[in-house]
Every structure is written in structure tokens, then in C-alpha cells.
């Protein structure tokens, strides 16, 4: 027989390994390495804290008592996981975007940051989970006892071992769950250790199962035959319980604080759900695969009266396989420890954020948020909470005497936390859900749960007479047969009544009450989380003093973290120094960061105190109301000055921005002008120096260089003319010489000046019958535009035999004249830039200054028309549009 001492040694060694893993994972995460720490696999494994010792050992006991009913505990979560697209995806998104720290925080945040609701949820969770923790302590001590019995050389005391176990677990949870206040409330160390434990318990159960099926029973067929022959060989599940427990397990899977912790708070990437959606059901599948075989073979082989809850341990022991028993023991030990650690961490977060901190804030009196070291208080509160929770579990275990009464506790716990489901689902999918509705529903549900399930289940709290005849002899109020409904199993009965009335109350009260503004905003944020995942409701106060905010943030986030946060924000705002302006954006980010440490309600109230709560009332945290009043007064004094200053600063900033923009435009323009002027000047200077300084120039050279000088001088003149023209047009000082004429006249004039004397010949297609349009406009300016377009066509049309088509149309009193050539036209880029000043087609040589089209556009806009590029005409095409005016009326326009 393996000595009990060896077991203790193995056990301590295992705990040491867990410590090491958690410590290393924390270290690696702190250095920013270790992407695998945040892999979907670790996430999936961490979800396995759903499988506690109750399921590790208890599933077999459950199967012995009720056949396949045990599997409902796994079917509920399976359905939730494979239906992730419907529910978990949204829950996780909301959790991440709101930085919630617990399910109480989520509900509080959804229902207008109500701390009352958070307190209720926390209390419900503590009441529901404490017996569950006791159950884990019991399973560990029982499994120790099993080994101790096998080793008669040792004395063994159940109760004292329970104390040791509880203490050890508290230390582990404190060391790794409350080492620091992370803004995201993530604990890589604990999660990694839990993932390891998940592997251990799965391997342990599979090993025992394989040993039983192939080692003891002799194969699958043989095992099935022995199962059918065993006392549990027939289907014997109550349909009511089958559905009720499946539903309960699904609800609890989402609502249990520890599940919420690993599933929503610790998740690193929403995409992990893709993997967990099949991997976690697979884990559950494997965990339950061998339960019935172990139960059946255990019933067959072990002496009558053996506790079926410990078959997983006693079956290998009875066959002399101590190694296997040891492994199985470690599996059960893993199940219990991981559950207790995470549950106590999650509960402690809730307790400290929603109960201890508000009390402390109101108790320390005024200016708490800027005077005390909130950070250390939060950590202390969490540590104390962990100890308190484990102490409660231990005392519960002591008081209940570790009897069989505990076995039913798991489901009773589930039913308790499931009461959070209506406000949770309603909060995520129904904008009309209100805080009052949630509180009323929770109250009714929790009350019914206590009355119909918890108290009768505990025994002793409710006298038998009351169970039999109802309170005060009112038989229709019998706890296990409300309204005279008898034939139901107590569990089904309790679940049905509590959930139905909870949901009904929640819906009805929500319908008749009005949510306050914060609630409505938060409701929209939650329900439509996929539309705006980042925003929170806004802070509109500019009154806060950044320094006060920094002091407060340092207390909570720690000095360096807070300063980094503020510095980053200041850099983002482009402010000098270290303090950012308290813009709404910044306040929201700060609040979310603080919420990661102290919960949404407290963070909101703390900022409200300093900012002055311009858009939000502080009533959501009653405990700090006095204090906030003082700070409100303080900040309202600052308000006048501070608001004035920030207004002036903004105006100055705007003015400066505009000047900078203008100056940049002016720079670019001057640079262009300079370039355009200096280029011809360079040629002129160079060639005049050549003419002056070179004595042996041939007459041909002299003539040529003089001609260049002449050309460049003309180019310079043209450029100056254009610049002046553009300046006059742009400044609006141009006087238009309006007179009557026809389009045909203007075109004739323009085309003859553009094409006369050109080296290239261009064929012009016109339709004179369309051109007899009477105009009343500045005909000289119009001709200038036409000349420009025609010369451009002549210059840039790259066809061998250039042709220009002039197309005239009249539509709705607008005349349009298109100039279409048969060249390649303009590229996309050129089309957008063609009308910019100084734009020239690349490669263009001495000629235009690139101002022609800019001038055309200015002219046409003066004439209430426009000139645009017409794409898709198979060549370069410009359209001139011009309104047909009063002065031209009376002449047949259509001609």
C-alpha cells in the first residue's frame, strides 16, 4: 500500500509545480512574450473549471443514483458553446468593450451603473457559491480520507485537513489572483495553471476509464453488456428533470462568477470562441465518456455500501493500481482547487468592487479619492474577501458535517446563480429592460429559490410541518408544491417557478417603469454593441482639473501606469507637458481603465466627483454622495475660469491652424511662380551672357541664340499677363463687358485666332446649324476660353491627323459647347489636376505656364457657367457650359 506520506508528498509537489507554472506564466506575460499564453487552447482549457470535483468524482455517483441524468450537466454548456454565435459572442464583446470585471459589474454597468444591483448580484452569488466551495473542500478531504484508510499507519482528521486545504487554496488565490490590479483584470498565471490542471483531470479520468473498460471489463462490447446488466442498465430519467437540469446547467455556465471570469474577463481575443465552440464540448464529451462504465463496473466489483462518489478513486485502489489511483486523486484535486481558486477570485472582485469599496469610500469621508491610497485598499479588500469566502466555505462544510446533504448542493447552487439569467439576457437583447425590472425579477427569483429549494434542501431551516402543510396552514404555499402543483420533482418545481416568475416580473416591471438616461444609454450600448463597440456614453464636462484626475488615477492604477496613461493621452492630444486636457474622449478612456480596477460604478462615481458630473448624476453610488457634493462645489468654482480658458485656447488653436494652412498654400503658390519666372530668365541670362562674352560665334549661332532669348522673353510676358489676369479674376475685380451676339460669331473668332499661323494643321468639325444660338455674355472672355481650349487641342492632341469636333447642345436653358479632339485624352490623374494652377502635362516644354485652364475656369465661373473635363469621349474633351440669358431671349433658341 502506498503510504499516505507519499500521497501528501505528491500532492505538495503538484502544488509546487502549479505555483511554478503560474509564476512563470505571469513573468512571461509581464515581459510581453508568450503568445501561447493567450492561445485559444489555453482559453478552452481554462473553461474546464466548469468541471469541478463535483463532476469529477460526483458524476459517477450521480450515474449510480440516476443513470444518464448526470450528462445534462454537460449538455447545457455544450448547447451554449455550439450556439456561441447567438449568445457568447455578444456577451464577450460587451464584456470587452465595457471592460467589465465580473457578472455583477456587467449587470450594474448595463442597468445604469447601479451599485444596488451589483450588491444584490454579489450577495446572491456568495450565497449560491459558498456551499459549492464547501463541496470542493469536502471532496478533497474525502479523497484524502480514502487514501488514509488504506494506510492504517496514519491517524487522519477530516476536519483539520479541510482547514489546511482551505488555507492553502486561499494563499494560492491571493498570490496569483491579487498580485496586481490589472486594468484588464486578466491573470495569465492563474489561467495557465488552470489549463494545466484541466489537462491533468482529463488525463486522469480517461486513464481510469480506459483501465476500467479495457483492463477490467475486457473491451467495449463486454462493457456495454455489463452496463445493460447492471442496476442502471435501463433508461430511467425523469423528463422534467432532464430538461430542467439541462437548462440550469446552460444558465449556470454563463452566470457562474467563475465561468464569467474565465470566459468573458480573461478572454484575450474574441476569435478564441471559434475554437472553444467545438473544443470545449469535446472536452466535456471526453469527461463524460467513461462515467457510466466506471459506475456500472464499480457497482459490480466494489462491495455494497462503497460511496459511489469515490468510485473513480476506490476502483483502481481495489485492483491494486495505486499509481492510477494517485493520478485520479490528482485529477480530483485539480478539479477542486482550480474551481475554488477562480471562484474565490471572481467573488472577491465582486465583493471588493461593489461592497467593500463603496463602504470604504463613504467611511473615509471627504476627498477619499484623492487622499488615500485606493490601490492598496482595493488589493487588501480582495485578499480579505478571498479569505472570507474560503472561511465561509469551510464553516459551511463544518456545520453541514460533510454529510450527503452536500451532494445536492451543486444543482441548488446552479439554480441560484441561474436567477441572473433573465436580467443578463434581457440586458443584452432588450433595450427596454430597466434596473427596477432587473431588481424586482432578481428579488422574486432569489426569494423563490431560497423558499422552494435552498432552505428545504438544507434541512432543519424549514420545519417539516411547513413542508407538509405550508406556512400558517396555507397548503397552496407549500415550498415544494406552490399553488397546489404536486406531482413535480422538487428541483423541476423550483426551477420552473423561480425562473418563470423571475422573468415575468422582470418583463412586467421593466414595461411599467422608466429607465433613467444613463440606463438608456448603457442599454443602447449593450444591445447594439456590434454597431459601436468602442464608445461609452459621454462626459461633457471640461471642468475637471487634469491634475486631480492624475492624482486619483495614481492611487488606483499605480504611479507609473497612471503617468504613462496620462502622458500617452497628452501626446495624442498634441499638448505640451504631461497633462492632457480633460476631453470627453480622454475621460471615457480613463474611466474604462479605472473600471478595470474598481468596477464600473465606482470608477464612474469617482470621475463624476472630480469632473463635476456634468451629464450624469452620482446617485448610482449612494455611499459616496456626501463626498461628491463637496467636490461638485469645488469644481463648480473652477468651472467658470476653466471653461473660459479652454474656450479661448480652442479659438486660438483654430486660428493658428487656419493661418498655417493658408501659409502652406501661399508657399506652394509662390514656389510655383518663382519656378515659372526663373526658368525663362535662366535661359535669357545664359544666352545673353554667351552673346556678350563669346567672340567667335557664327552668325547662325548668334541668330539662333537671339531667337531663344526672344522666345523666352515672350514666354515671360505671357506668364506675367496670365498671372495678372488670374489675380484680377480671382479677386473679383474684373468688369464684365456684357453684350449680345451669337455663338457662331464667337466660335468663328476664337478658332481663327487659335489656328491661324499654327505649324500643325487641324481639321475642325462644326455643325453651323446648331451654332446659331443667341448669347448675352462677355463675348471677349468667352472667346478667350474657346481659344485656350482650341489651342490646347492643337498642342496636345497626339493623333497623326488631329481633328477637333465642336458639339453644341441646349438643355434646360443651359448651353453646352464640347471641344473633343481625337487624341488620347487625359489620364485619370491629369483629369483631376488639369484645372489646378501651374499644372502642365508632363513633358510639356516652353509654352504655357500651366495657368490656361485655371483661367478658363475662373472666367466661366464669373460668367455663371463652368468648364469641365468630359471623360469617355475617345479623346481629350472639355465642356463649356453657360446659362442662356435674359438679353438673348426672343430669338429662336433652337434655330
Amino acid at each position: 500500500m502506498a503510504s499516505f506520506n507519499l500521497l501528501v508528498a505528491v500532492c505538495l509537489g503538484y502544488v509546487a509545480i502549479l505555483f511554478a507554472v503560474a509564476f512563470l506564466a505571469d513573468r512571461i506575460a509581464a515581459t510581453g512574450r508568450g503568445r501561447w499564453l493567450r492561445s485559444p487552447l489555453i482559453y478552452t482549457l481554462s473553461l474546464s473549471i466548469y468541471c469541478t470535483a463535483w463532476t469529477f468524482y460526483g458524476a459517477v455517483g450521480y450515474a449510480v443514483r440516476s443513470g444518464l441524468e448526470f450528462v445534462t450537466i454537460y449538455l447545457g454548456p455544450t448547447i451554449v458553446m455550439i450556439g456561441w454565435w447567438w449568445g457568447l459572442r455578444k456577451l464577450v464583446r460587451v464584456g470587452r468593450s465595457q471592460r467589465v470585471t465580473s457578472i455583477a459589474d456587467l449587470l450594474s454597468s448595463r442597468y445604469g451603473k447601479s451599485n444596488t444591483l451589483a450588491i444584490c448580484v454579489t450577495l446572491l452569488a456568495v450565497i449560491g457559491i459558498t456551499p459549492y466551495i464547501a463541496l470542493q473542500l469536502q471532496s478533497i478531504t474525502l479523497s484524502f480520507a480514502t487514501f488514509a484508510e488504506a494506510d492504517p499507519s496514519r491517524g487522519w482528521a477530516d476536519v483539520s485537513s479541510g482547514l489546511w486545504v482551505a488555507g492553502g487554496l486561499a494563499i494560492f488565490a491571493i498570490l496569483f489572483g491579487t498580485r496586481n490590479l490589472d486594468a484588464n483584470e486578466r491573470h495569465h498565471g492563474v489561467v495557465t495553471a488552470i489549463a494545466l490542471e484541466a489537462v491533468v483531470k482529463l488525463v486522469a479520468l480517461l486513464a481510469v476509464g480506459i483501465f476500467v473498460v479495457w483492463g477490467l471489463a475486457g473491451g467495449i462490447g463486454e462493457t456495454m453488456a455489463r452496463i445493460d446488466a447492471s442496476p442502471i442498465g435501463e433508461w430511467n430519467v425523469d423528463p422534467g428533470r432532464w430538461s430542467a437540469i439541462t437548462f440550469l446547467a446552460a444558465a449556470a455556465f454563463v452566470c457562474l462568477p467563475r465561468m464569467f471570469q474565465v470566459m468573458v474577463v480573461e478572454i484575450d481575443n474574441e476569435r478564441h470562441l471559434h475554437t472553444a465552440a467545438w473544443a470545449f464540448p469535446l472536452y466535456l464529451f471526453l469527461m463524460s465518456l467513461f462515467v457510466v462504465p466506471i459506475a456500472a463496473i464499480g457497482l459490480d466489483l466494489l462491495p455494497e455500501g462503497t460511496n459511489p462518489d469515490l468510485f473513480v478513486l476506490t476502483l483502481p485502489l481495489s485492483q491494486g493500481r495505486e499509481d492510477l489511483a494517485m493520478l485520479s486523486f490528482l485529477g480530483g484535486f485539480s478539479s477542486a482547487t482550480s474551481m475554488v481558486i477562480v471562484a474565490s477570485m471572481a467573488l472577491s472582485t465582486m465583493l471588493s468592487n461593489h461592497i467593500v469599496m463603496p463602504i470604504w469610500l463613504s467611511w473615509t469621508g471627504s476627498a477619499a479619492s484623492v487622499s488615500g491610497d485606493v490601490r492598496s485598499v482595493v488589493l487588501l479588500a480582495r485578499r480579505v474577501s478571498i479569505v472570507v469566502i474560503l472561511a465561509l466555505g469551510y464553516f459551511y462544510y463544518m456545520l453541514s458535517g460533510g454529510g450527503a446533504g452536500l451532494a445536492a448542493i451543486g444543482l441548488i447552487s446552479f439554480a441560484g446563480v441561474a436567477q441572473m439569467l433573465p436580467p443578463l439576457v434581457g440586458g443584452l437583447y432588450w433595450r427596454g429592460a430597466t434596473r427596477t425590472g432587473a431588481l424586482a425579477g432578481l428579488g422574486v427569483g432569489a426569494g423563490l429559490w431560497l423558499y422552494t429549494l435552498l432552505l428545504p434542501g438544507l434541512g432543519g431551516f424549514i420545519p417539516d410541518t411547513m413542508l407538509q402543510q405550508g406556512p400558517f396552514g396555507l397548503s397552496w404555499l407549500r415550498p415544494q408544491a406552490l399553488f397546489g402543483i404536486t406531482g413535480l420533482d422538487p428541483m423541476t418545481h423550483a426551477v420552473m417557478w423561480s425562473m418563470a416568475l423571475n422573468a415575468l416580473t422582470f418583463v412586467i416591471v421593466s414595461l411599467i417603469t422608466l429607465p433613467d438616461p444613463i440606463e438608456r444609454l448603457q442599454g443602447a450600448q449593450f444591445v447594439n454593441v456590434f454597431e459601436h463597440s468602442t464608445g461609452l456614453r459621454g462626459w461633457t464636462g471640461y471642468v475637471a482639473q487634469s491634475e486631480d484626475l492624475l492624482i486619483m488615477a495614481q492611487r488606483i492604477l499605480g504611479t507609473s501606469d497612471a503617468q504613462t496613461l496620462f502622458q500617452r493621452e497628452a501626446d495624442r492630444q498634441g499638448a505640451r507637458g504631461h497633462l492632457p486636457e480633460p476631453t470627453p474622449d480622454f475621460l471615457e478612456r480613463l474611466e474604462r481603465n479605472l473600471a478595470g480596477s474598481v468596477g464600473a460604478a465606482a470608477a464612474h462615481a469617482m470621475i463624476a466627483q472630480i469632473v463635476g458630473g456634468a451629464s450624469v448624476s452620482v446617485e448610482d453610488l449612494l455611499a459616496v454622495a456626501d463626498e461628491s457634493a463637496q467636490i461638485l462645489e469645488y469644481s463648480s468654482q473652477l468651472e467658470a475660469k476653466s471653461a473660459e480658458l479652454s474656450r479661448t485656447a480652442r479659438q486660438l488653436r483654430d486660428a493658428n491652424d487656419m493661418l498655417t494652412r493658408l501659409s502652406a498654400q501661399k508657399d506652394a503658390f509662390l514656389g510655383q511662380v518663382s519656378h515659372e519666372l526663373r526658368t525663362p530668365m535662366t535661359s535669357i541670362r545664359a544666352f545673353s551672357e554667351i552673346l556678350r562674352d563669346t567672340e567667335d560665334l557664327s552668325p547662325a549661332e548668334t541668330t539662333r541664340y537671339a531667337a531663344i532669348i526672344h522666345d523666352e522673353a515672350r514666354r515671360l510676358t505671357r506668364l506675367l499677363d496670365d498671372l495678372l489676369d488670374l489675380n484680377v479674376l480671382e479677386s473679383g475685380q474684373v468688369s464684365l463687358n456684357m453684350r449680345a451676339g451669337t455663338l457662331a460669331q464667337v466660335l468663328d473668332h476664337a478658332l481663327s485666332s487659335a489656328l491661324a499661323g499654327a505649324e500643325r494643321k487641324m481639321v475642325v468639325h462644326r455643325r453651323p446649324e446648331m451654332e446659331n444660338v443667341p448669347l448675352y455674355s462677355d463675348l471677349d472672355r468667352l472667346a478667350q476660353v474657346f481659344i485656350n481650349l482650341a489651342s490646347n487641342a492643337l498642342k496636345y492632341c497626339d493623333a497623326d491627323r488631329p481633328e477637333l469636333t465642336i458639339r453644341v447642345q441646349i438643355q434646360d436653358d443651359m448651353l453646352s459647347v464640347d471641344f473633343i479632339d481625337n487624341g488620347r485624352g487625359l489620364t485619370d490623374e491629369a483629369q483631376t489636376l488639369a484645372f489646378e494652377k501651374f499644372y502642365r502635362v508632363s513633358g510639356e516644354k516652353a509654352g504655357g505656364a500651366g495657368l490656361g485652364l485655371a483661367i478658363c475656369r475662373e472666367i466661366m465661373q464669373r460668367l455663371d457657367g463652368d468648364v469641365t473635363y468630359l471623360p469617355g469621349q475617345g479623346g481629350g474633351a472639355f465642356r463649356v457650359t453657360l446659362p442662356l440669358r435674359e438679353g438673348g431671349r426672343g430669338i429662336d433658341a433652337a434655330a
Partner: protein
């Protein structure tokens, strides 16, 4: 003296002609390229002793060309005379950062250009 070969990258034909005239008379061999794109390849092909580079070129700016050249080890020390018609302080700063050897504003006098070319080649041929 080997340094007798100048490459001129400039898009104004008249300016090319002027500079070619001035330098050819003094015994230099002048190649020219009128576009920003392909300028670096042109340098690699002709392997000049001196490069005269305009800033505002079609395709790519002279600054970019200069930066690309300086990134190539064989042109780290190639003398580059840069010409600009924009004449702003910023351009000069940019050119200096890009590694220009001499910077001149248009319009220039012919003697200045000649002097600058001589100067740069003398510096380059010194050990």
C-alpha cells in the same frame, strides 16, 4: 586629367543647350537627360565625373534622384551640382540633407557654373 564628363539632368531644352554650350567650349563632354524617371539608370549608364541636377523634373524630383544615388555605394562621392528655380530656403536644406555637393539658384551666371564645375572636380580628384 580624367574628369571631363558631365551628365546634365534638366527638362528645359533651352537651359540644356546653354549649359552644353558653355561646358563644351571648355572641353567637357556633356550628356543630357530630360526626365526624372530613368535618371539614376542614366547615371549608371554614362558614369559621369559630375552630375548637374535640376530639382523640378517631370516624373521624379531631383531630391529623390539624389537620395537614391547617395544610397548606392559607388555614387557616395559623385560630385552633384544642383539647380533650382524655386529658390526657397527649404529646398536648400533638403538638398543638403540629401547630400548635395553644391547648390545653385536659377538664373545663374555662366561663369558661376563654370567655376562650380571646376571646383567640384578639383575637390573630387584630390586624394
Amino acid at each position: 586629367m580624367t574628369g571631363r564628363h558631365v551628365l546634365l539632368i534638366e527638362d528645359e531644352p533651352n537651359i540644356i543647350e546653354a549649359i552644353r554650350f558653355i561646358l563644351t567650349r571648355e572641353g567637357w563632354k556633356v550628356d543630357s537627360h530630360a526626365h526624372g524617371t530613368g535618371a539614376v539608370e542614366m547615371v549608371q549608364k554614362t558614369d559621369p565625373d559630375l552630375l548637374i541636377l535640376d530639382v523640378m523634373l517631370p516624373g521624379r524630383s531631383g531630391m529623390e534622384i539624389l537620395r537614391d544615388l547617395r544610397a548606392l555605394p559607388e555614387y557616395e562621392n559623385l560630385p552633384v551640382l544642383m539647380l533650382t528655380a524655386r529658390g526657397q530656403m527649404r529646398d536648400r536644406d533638403m538638398a543638403e540633407r540629401a547630400g548635395v555637393s553644391r547648390f545653385m539658384t536659377k538664373p545663374f551666371s555662366n561663369t558661376e557654373v563654370l567655376a562650380a564645375v571646376r571646383d567640384l572636380l578639383a575637390q573630387a580628384s584630390r586624394p
